[in-house]
Symmetry: C2
Subunit: 158 residues, 2 copies
DNA sequence: CTAGAAGTTCGAGCGCGCTCGAAGGCAAGC
DNA sequence: GCTTGCCTTCGAGCGCGCTCGAACTTCTAG
């Protein structure tokens, strides 16, 4: 995904939710930093901070086969730009509700090479359906929620 | 929420996702049936079928204080229209990511009467933020997903 | 050289929201 | 009246995705 697209996402965010603009900016920042390809490898804690996960979780993801950072001679993990980009991808997909199971399956396919693109596309098509479905569920709930808010005197606290 | 609003939701759903229109219609149907106020009380299994949960889950919700159906002389649960409407509300909010904890807190407030509307509004305002935030996360993931689909030859399977 | 921070592996534990099964009671059709 | 099936309560179990702690090693600042 391009940084431009991310910026558009940012701008598309409704203005009344100030707090999360900061957060979105943070995400944007992540991507920029990753794109900057300043190829000093990061430690597990640094990588975790950049993508907004814990070091524990990064090790867990590795154990699950989602990412495979290089190692220093002494065995410490070295996260490079490509690893960080993958982590951002993983985080986005996890946040959208893709299960660990599907994600590991997908990553395995990616690592098996080009002949797996058919199945990869199938996975992503299914994932798109799930996302759209979740969005419709959220719309429904948003409506209920706003109805209740109105009922209780509106956002203003009147 | 009005049935009209639900119909609008339905129509607003993108046309390419045929399968879930059926599902949305099902939800709509639920509401109509509940609104029909055909006041024959339903058994736990009937109620479960109507709202799309299991009988086990309905009993669990009751145990958590989310709903309190009347009982027959012999102790069987009797779900009336009002109970079913509450169940639909609960289901929507659960699907939108509201936790059991927040939902029980909210329901407790409702049952405590009018003097709790301030806190109820606060809960719903927070919930709205969470929903909007989730929607933005989903948009981000949707974009990644569609990018991958395009990369793999598009929806058509080309 | 040394203290302390941060890294490693491993396996156990946890919070959430159900989900299930056992043991027994009630209801409706034949 | 009996059979069949749904109802009741209760407590245990489960799947997911982390999350944590122990025990040990390595790096870094002073």
């Amino acid at each position: 995904m391009s940084t431009d697209a991310l910026i558009e996402q940012l701008l598309a965010a409704p203005p009344e939710v100030g707090r999360s603009v900061v957060e979105a900016l943070h995400q944007l920042l992540d991507d920029s930093m990753l794109d900057a390809d300043d190829d000093a490898p990061r430690s597990v804690a640094e990588a975790a901070a950049l993508v907004g996960l814990t070091a524990h979780t990064l090790r867990y993801y590795e154990q699950q086969g989602l990412v495979r950072p290089a190692r220093s001679p002494s065995g410490h993990r070295l996260y490079r730009a490509a690893d960080l980009r993958r982590l951002v991808f993983l985080t986005r997909m996890r946040l959208s509700g893709m299960t660990m199971h599907d994600l590991t399956r997908y990553v395995r396919l990616v690592e098996q090479g080009e002949h797996t693109v058919d199945e990869r596309r199938r996975i992503m098509l299914e994932q798109r359906e799930r996302i759209l479905r979740r969005m419709r569920e959220l719309s429904l709930a948003l409506e209920v929620t706003e109805y209740k808010i109105e009922l209780y005197g509106g956002s203003s606290g009147a």
